[in-house]
Amino acid sequence: MSVPTDRQYSAEHEWIIVDGNVATVGITEYASNALGDVVYTELPGVSEEVTAGEVCGEIESTKSVSDLYSPVSGAIQDVNEDLADAPELVNDDPYGKGWLFTVQVSELGELMDAAAYANHIGE
């Protein structure tokens, strides 16, 4: 199970890379495996305000719908528009091409490093 060390993680299985005051967010390989084939993503709108720890969207797989939580507070800067036609990117490349959205960060939520996340998922 891949847990890249170049980023941080939330307890709800999101990853986050912070560059300056912009953060890129996605879900982890653990989460995308658990979901199964992703068929639809509902992402927040650009410039929408999101709050750390609160639901900001949904990820739907063949079997079920899961809430998507924002690991940070701030305003959505960008969303991954490739996912509309190719939601399977979340499964194929959850840490790269399967990114979900970017945020202009006003406040970070509770985050953990790769080692702590690996522990969290029982690795």
Binding site: N33, G36, Y40, T62, K63
Partner: protein
């Protein structure tokens, strides 16, 4: 050690890192690689499914045909040897206790295949309904395995292992024969039945032979191992009901469009209740299709001009068709082509009423 009950193929599934799930108290594979890839494999080539959680119950003896007739809504005593029939067991009040397949293996021998979740109940009811009779009801499930081979090349694949001429085995027929796998010859009962909407077979074997048969089939290049997730999306496209979704003890066969299975002119448990229901009103099972990519899921409310008329019982984004499909149980009176509204997590989406099935396999010569 695995806790009973468990499939004789559980080790084989663990060896390939299948994602397991609890199903009817058994650890069964939910998926091997990808739900969508497995679904696609069955529609284009062949998939194998471990169905060992499903019951294999023998009903035999001089009173067998009578017991079978008395226990199910259909008439089975008139079945020829080597025939299979889809039927239902209902309670005295008419609610469906299980939907299942009955095979006639001999004049006085039947094999009943209940759903895993209802197996012990069906065995108990068969025993109870037999009364003082001279009929044996024997649950062979834990010493057997059941493997489904489904898909357009299923016959070609299975023919490579079995001494039965599959070109002579028509739909809803069964026969016994032998499989040759891993340099051994093992006895089997093969039926041309399935739950996927494709051509296919359900192969019953001894638990001791299960791994050899499974691995031999899995090694065939055109065959994919398939789990319960794919099984569900395939059957929904084929418009087939699932006990626990469309069927339950709260619905009669008439309430889910299965009145044709009921033969009221023979004595069976639940007959009077069903006779009353057949003359009265209730609900209907409808197919719904939508646009976009969001599936309506089980439990979602169905509305006609703002008024709730029922609920979705199963729904997915159809992998084969590419749009949302759903089955719903609603008050009688909707018509094909009619548009209803479905509540999906607080928002309503239009869906159109269509005839089932959503998908029919292409006809081959």
């Amino acid at each position: 050690m695995h806790e009973a009950p468990f499939s004789p193929l559980l080790n084989a599934h663990e060896r390939v890192d299948a994602r397991l799930t609890d199903f009817a108290g058994w650890q069964m594979p939910l998926r091997f690689e990808s739900d969508l890839a497995e679904h696609q494999a069955v529609r284009t080539k062949a998939g194998i499914f471990d169905l060992s959680h499903m019951g294999q119950v023998e009903v035999s003896g001089p009173g067998a045909a009578q017991l079978i007739d008395h226990s199910f809504v259909g008439l089975s005593s008139t079945m020829e040897i080597g025939r299979a029939k889809y039927t239902m067991m209902v309670a005295e009040e008419g609610g469906v206790l299980d939907d299942l397949i009955v095979y006639r293996l001999a004049e006085a021998e039947f094999l009943v295949i209940p759903n895993g979740v209802n197996r012990t109940l069906v065995v108990d009811e068969l025993t109870r309904r037999g009364g003082e009779g001279d009929t044996a009801v024997i649950d062979h499930t834990l010493s057997r395995a059941l493997i489904a081979v489904q898909g357009p090349v299923a016959a070609e694949v299975l023919q490579g292992f079995v001494d039965i001429d599959l070109t002579q085995l028509r739909n809803y027929r069964c026969t016994s024969g032998f499989l040759t796998v891993a340099a051994r010859t093992v006895p089997t009962l093969v039926a041309r039945t399935g739950y996927s909407g494709e051509d296919g077979f359900e192969v019953s074997i001894s638990a001791n032979d299960a791994e050899d048969v499974w691995e031999a089939l899995a090694a065939v290049e055109q065959v994919s191992r398939c789990g319960l997730a794919a099984r569900d999306s395939l059957r929904l496209e084929a418009g087939l009901p699932l006990y626990g979704n469309e069927l339950s003890a709260h619905t009669t066969p008439y309430d889910v469009g299965m009145g044709r299975l009921v033969h009221l002119d023979h004595d069976f448990v639940g007959r009077e209740a069903l006779r009353k229901r057949s003359e009265g009103e209730g609900t209907a099972l409808i197919g719904l299709v939508g646009e976009g990519r969001r599936a309506a899921r089980a439990g979602a409310s169905v509305l006609q001009e703002g008024e709730p008329i029922g609920a979705i019982t199963s729904g997915i984004l159809s992998p084969t068709l590419g749009y949302p499909i759903a089955m719903a149980v609603v008050t009688e009176g909707t018509v094909e082509g009619q548009v209803v509204d479905v509540d999906v997590r607080g928002r309503t989406f239009p869906m159109e009423v269509v005839a089932l099935p959503f998908y029919r396999r292409p006809k081959t010569t």
